[in-house]
């Protein structure tokens, strides 16, 4: 287990490092709250042992900071203290500590408590739950296949790139990257509220139908927003809500549902927006063939500044190879899944095995719609 130890007393950190290493843990230590927060930006530490009394930022403050951050997975906090008494315990628990160990600590006790923390962390299956939920919502719309798997990979690549840019380093850290990986699959969850006749319609939507289809972004954000209202501290819910709401906004303000422009569109929405369009373009849909990476790239470049945030497009272009690789990786898997799906349904609906024939004119309209605006 990777453990972060925070204490401004290097004698204590040395003893802790040694004891924890002997029990097989990988330990990193920080000498101040600030340094600890900096290290935690990587998103790699899920268990923190911190000292209550530190110069500068106290353990209590550090605890609060950790709890307030965008965090994709739970961080288990053990406080090290010489304080005793209910009052101190209550103060520590209020700040978000999970457990206490009194100084001087017994190595055995420390390790048992760490094991208790590991048990709690292993129960934190939030990530899996979220993805299953997203898959469930997507299950009516079978043709999209591994869409969610790809989307989150693309988002991770873009966010990872941004985290290395100075402009975004304050906003995008390792934790943000993991958070968008986890929440981006929920972007279309509002489609559960769209009737079958529209969601599954294998040809272009009428204006009225498209208006209804557009509601999926607000249905999704309202649903997730209701959860945020109950758990305002759950940052992953906030991000999921923002993504569901804003992934169809466009950089020039011509998108929906709010017609937001530029940086008024949440960053996560701008990232998912590009990933979603790229995926729609490069995979087969009932209304269009799969475009090559090059063609999709040209369309995205063409729409830079109008549809897409130039910074996000740059992140995409600089990581093109990774996009291609992700797509190829899932393509093979998808072909297999689609075939077995068609076979299983063919028993009941033989028509499914025949390719729908479109008139040339109609296909052009649909392809244009997909490329330009109506990727849904």
């Amino acid at each position: 287990m990777r453990i972060l130890v925070v204490d401004d007393d290097d004698i204590v950190t040395e003893i802790l490092e040694n004891v924890l290493a002997q029990f097989g843990h990988q330990v990193t230590s920080a000498r101040s709250g600030r340094e600890a927060l900096e290290l935690m930006r990587s998103g790699t530490y899920r268990l923190v042992v911190l000292d209550w009394e530190m110069e500068g930022m106290s353990g209590i403050e550090l605890c609060r900071h950790i709890r307030q951050r965008y965090s994709c997975s739970y961080v288990y906090i053990i406080m090290l203290t010489v304080r005793r008494g209910t009052e101190s315990t209550v103060e520590g628990l209020n700040a978000g500590a999970d457990d206490f160990i009194s100084k001087p600590f017994e190595p055995q006790e420390l390790c048992v408590r760490i094991r208790a923390g590991e048990r709690i962390l292993s129960l934190d299956s939030r990530e899996l739950t979220i993805f299953s939920l997203a898959k469930l919502a997507e299950s009516r719309d079978q043709e999209t296949g591994a869409h969610l798997e790809r989307i989150r990979e693309y988002c991770r690549v873009i966010a990872g790139h941004l985290s290395r840019q100075e402009k975004y380093s304050n906003q995008v850290d390792g934790d943000y990257v993991q958070l968008i990986y986890m929440t981006s699959p929920l972007h279309d969850i509002g489609k559960v509220g769209i009737p079958d006749r529209i969601l599954l319609k294998p040809c272009a939507l009428t204006r009225e139908e498209f208006e209804i289809m557009k509601q999926h972004s607000t249905i999704g954000s309202k649903t997730l927003g209701a959860a945020v209202a109950v758990h305002p501290e759950a940052k992953f819910l906030c991000m999921a809500r923002d993504i569901a709401h804003s992934h169809h906004e466009r950089f020039d303000g011509s998108g929906y549902p709010d017609g937001l422009a530029g940086e008024n569109i949440p960053l996560c929405g701008r990232i998912v927006g590009l990933a979603d369009v790229y995926d729609a373009l490069t995979t087969k849909r009932v209304y269009k063939k799969a475009f090559s990476h090059e063609r999709a790239r040209d369309i995205i470049i063409e729409d830079t500044g109008s549809h897409f945030d130039p910074d996000i497009v740059r992140a995409f272009l600089e990581n093109e190879n990774r996009f291609v690789k992700i797509r190829e990786q899932y393509m093979a898997r998808e072909e297999f899944e689609t075939t077995s799906l068609l076979q299983s349904q063919a028993r009941f609906i033989p028509e499914l095995l025949t390719t729908p024939e479109f008139s040339r004119e109609r296909e052009e309209v649909l392809v244009g719609a997909a490329a330009g605006s109506n990727v849904i």
Binding site: D9, E53, P104, F105
Partner: protein, 103 residues
């Protein structure tokens, strides 16, 4: 802990650190900065306890309590007591560090 190297490193650090802490405590006392004394004493208490220097931890705790209670006049005597404890500790540490009776 079964790690003589660690004991050695930690005790050397401790040995070097304490005089600094003591000097800083005296300076704070001259300024009448009770908060600072309490802070240092608290830290020393924690460190001492961590290296099993119980007498020292106790002496530090007394200083911490007095400074928190604002009893400045009682503190010099307790700092003296702390210094005595420190001397005792030092003797023991020298024995340990020389590789004497440990194991």
């Amino acid at each position: 802990m079964g790690n003589l190297n660690l004991v050695h490193r930690v005790l050397s650090k401790f040995q070097k650190r304490l005089p600094e802490e003591l000097a800083e405590m005296n300076k704070a006392l001259e300024r009448g900065d009770m908060g600072r004394i309490a802070h240092i004493a608290h830290r020393v208490k924690g460190t001492s306890a961590s290296v099993s220097a119980k007498g020292l931890a106790l002496a530090a705790a007394e200083i911490e309590d007095l400074s928190r209670a604002g009893r400045a006049t009682d503190i010099p005597a307790r700092i003296e007591h702390f210094r005595d404890e420190w001397e005792k500790c030092l003797d023991e540490a020298v024995v340990l560090l020389s590789g004497g009776d440990i194991v």
